[in-house]
Symmetry: D2
Subunit: 340 residues, 4 copies
């Protein structure tokens, strides 16, 4: 069996990464790639790195055409716009992996207050599956639409959820200090992400107001059935890819003196069957996982705090790699196919 | 008057930065530059960027020769080795600015337990002046030896000390998450700081064990007369220069709802006469202060925390720029001379 | 005496560099800074790195206001638009240093065929002084308008002109392979110069069609009274600043076997009185001259060719540093003032 | 069938890339990985990025052990040392792909004069197959030892050889100006390749004296049966991976006015059956081929010259990717296996 995949919204970095990963996937192929203003161009005009690897002309979006020839659509559209497209695709009978935040949160109210838009399809909010197979594999396998996780949330939920579920850390005193490569800011022309603006410079942004904060809180809450609060600070880092989250937590009261080893053991147990998530003894660097779907996590003690470190590639495990992994799970393929 | 300066230990990045800054200083000139294995070479063989700017041959260290021709020595040597050289210079009658950590801490015991060496001149530990003119200008002006501050401590003490002195934040719940450029790791040949190891990758290091943690605690304690504890995590960031410290603090009990404005006002009051320290409304980036002696600081609220951000250039205000500023203060010159 | 300077077009990288250099210039100060869409903003809102260094609000352009309060205007505007503004300023009685290409070439026809615009003030084309004090200092000192050189041409004319004038190389077989940092592409929002597009990637652009080719040929011709042809290929290099030109030339027939030494001697003779131009024995790197007005040049033999290497900072000696140097010469100040 | 592979010399960047590529190869697996000083360590201690992907402990080299369990050995050792090891392996009955230069050249004399060592196995020099399947596939398929091409030569031979064979360009007037990422300099601890030395700086090195010059001349000569001379200048570029070669050639006398189209057609014909080599209309960037085995080539006219541009990844098609491709050819597997 070879899956036929539609890529809706092909011109950004996540679209490029989907196309790249599919070109190397033994049981899936990119069948249709859509774009708005670039429709009619060959995909290699927009992404020269696909030369020799993908031979497609970009098309206008047409849900029925996709329904006729594709098993699944990957939607790489901005929030708001995405939900409308997802609705069309679902109604046309296509299963969807949605890269936007439109179906990630449990609550329409929380969504609308953080994203400042009216949700176009509020009926589906809350009952959509969050595309993190490490925690929701069963639901993903049967889902019609999967909300692909945000990049920062991936790097925070993975290490935090198991520890809160096992009551190893205090759910009310958590600081997530994240460092992201510039591709996280997207591929639209903005002065702020010009080479000379971000090169040789690191800065925080959206302090106390980044939309991934409620996503972290919501999902850890769903996984652990415990409400949590996080202080979240993202930083723009002079590199193309990668996220490192440095997480400060207090041990829960019953934490023993072997807290770091307890944490590592909890992670090893949680992720025993997950090929991609690796608790490691060394301190993870984003360079260790660049271009891959792997996750590296480590723990250290520092004063009265536990310091948890989690490195991912923001475009792979933080976006397009996770989407491929979700697709594999949705269609009963080995989750690691095309991602090793 | 033109000051004659000796640079002891010329081959590293701080030595280069001293030579560069002095080449542009209207009232000081580099008279002697020493090096061990490179003695005999022209300084531009070691630092080609000084071509046309500095015309000196590197010499072996000789305290008496320095005493005869120089007003002040800048010591850029490793800890332990530095204290011995400083002692020789002081005894020969030369005033010294010491870049090492040997005279920064108040306690010989703390020094020896963190630095794992026997201190060669313990008598002077604790009564040496810390070279941060924003807090210790009077003492610096009369000092025979000034302990030039560490780079990370500069980025933490500057924002923290005023707020703790004014009891605006809790001194017992402080997290300092710092991101440094690679020049902070020095210029010796190590695999870990090769281009391909650090490029496109960010990682924490020395979590819970970095020697700048006791320096931050000691100095904030000295300035504020309050004991503090910090959790400190340094990160190696893919850029040559700069430090951004993201500091998480809890407001002290009497903190009003205008906490961020209170903090800004406290900083503005503290640094009103300091040309280099600028509280700013925007979020500081290391690129904003690269290559300069300036400090940018900002504050934001995030959940139940205050987030303080401080950007410096690790080689300038974090090392050689501070040393020039200290020299200016020691010799009664306008502190900004040669540093604007 | 303190010169009053107007900066016309303040929001780009060359404008920022002018403001930065003037903030450190002992005999000049930035009096007026203009911008179109950003008029009314404080200059530090557009350039946060000027915080604490420049305190000015950006204004609309007004030639008469500039004439009343300024000795000289630095025009950092796009070609075409620049010539009109220069005309207004000259007619209002202000001396001008023009960063555009509008007055660099000798011929209106060549200008119009390469720049695809009608020249707004063709009368002044050809009799305007080219702002390279190493060759035109006398003319610059008396000029009302100085055409500030292009960045690539600076890196090619400096090494080539002396050798062609002395007939050491063949003027008809010259290849200039140049590598520039991304700041050369300006500060406007374009996908092509986003961080992730240019980081970790080098590429040629405008092969055989870059507008700096006729500028190199025109100026070397003017300096040497010999027509020359160059093949010129610029490359976008993953760094913010700097140009390295690698130039391939054939020795002229009378070239002796000591050609490399002859070349070095020719350069040393030509630039004996120039503080900034340094023939060097080592192979120049752009990092050696980053952020400075210095030029490093070297020569090597390779097969039947001479390889000439020239490194400059594209924003300093290639633009704003050269402009400050020109200003110094125009007003009888030591050329190195504010640039060491 | 699954091939068993030995990696001899595992600690450098080419060794890492071999291990990475094999971890994703469907018909080969890494069986033995050797190292000298790191023998006994797990491979992920030396290369943390292999965590979860390769589970091997590094061993001392033992030719007989390799012969017993492996079908092929990849030798990533320095020149000189490599030839001795290759000899041992061949004599033990293992087929070898040698990454060093020891068997690339036709002449022992040329080798010894450029590499300044006595060749340890001169008998095999000259009759060894050069591992570029685009030109030598038949010989590779039967070879016991394949000399894996140098990185720069790959980027020069690919575009040049077809054009010289078809007499489209003059073989005696060729300039190759190459720009390489820093990984080309290897992973040993040297000041010259520290992050802060190479970041934000480009420079030429080994002008007129780089050992890849005779390799280019020798191989183009072998492929085309015409002697050629090249002027070759390598540059160290601030990026981890990638080579761009900008090649200046004169059209041969019979060159028509459609020279650029003729060149493109010649390349299309030559590489019609090669999956990896792509003549492209756009100007190739190293970022387009980073991390892949692809080659992009383009041509332009500029004055009296043709400018040929060729981009590869120095560690993939320039080293380890080519080795995997050679292995596939040696064992009758589809050449693109594990490399798409």
């Amino acid at each position: 069996m070879t899956l036929s995949v539609a890529l809706v919204g092909s011109t950004g970095y996540t679209g490029l990464e989907v196309a790249r990963l599919l070109s190397n996937h033994p049981s899936a192929r990119l069948q249709i790639a859509t774009a708005r203003s670039d429709a009619g161009k060959h995909i290699t005009e927009v992404h020269p790195s696909l030369t020799g690897r993908v031979d497609l002309t970009l098309k206008e979006f047409d849900a029925n055409e996709i329904a006729q020839s594709c098993d699944v659509a990957m939607c790489c559209l901005p929030h708001g716009a995405s939900a409308e497209t997802v609705k069309e695709l679902i109604e046309a009978g296509v299963r969807v992996i949605d890269f936007s935040a439109d179906f990630r949160l449990s609550s329409v109210e929380v969504y609308e207050s953080w994203y400042k838009v009216k949700h176009p399809w509020p009926q589906r909010v809350g009952d959509t599956v969050y595309g993190m197979p490490e925690f929701f594999a069963d639901a993903i396998s049967g889902a019609d639409v999967v909300a692909n996780p945000g990049c920062y949330p991936t790097s925070a939920i993975m290490p935090l959820a198991p520890l809160i579920r096992e009551r190893l850390i205090d759910p009310h005193d958590i600081i997530v200090d994240s460092k992201s490569g510039v591709s996280g800011a997207g591929r639209s022309a903005k002065v702020a992400t010009l080479y000379c603006e971000t090169n040789e410079s690191i800065a925080a942004y959206a302090v106390g107001s980044h939309r991934h904060q409620p996503e972290i809180e919501d999902l850890v809450g769903r996984i652990t059935s415990q409400p949590i609060q996080v202080v979240f600070t993202p930083h723009l880092t002079p590199m193309s890819r990668g996220i490192l989250s440095t997480i400060y937590a207090r041990p829960a009261e019953h934490g023993s003196t072997d807290r770091v080893e307890q944490i590592m053991q909890c992670w090893r147990d949680t992720f025993a069957d997950s090929h991609f998530v690796n608790p490691v003894e060394h301190l993870p660097a984003t360079g260790h996982v660049a271009g891959t779907n792997y996750v590296q996590m480590a723990a250290r003690g520092s004063g009265d705090r536990l310091v948890l470190l989690c490195a991912i590639d923001n475009l792979a495990k933080g976006a397009s790699g996770a989407a491929i992994q979700n697709m594999n799970v949705m269609f009963g393929i080995d989750p690691t196919t095309g991602l090793r």
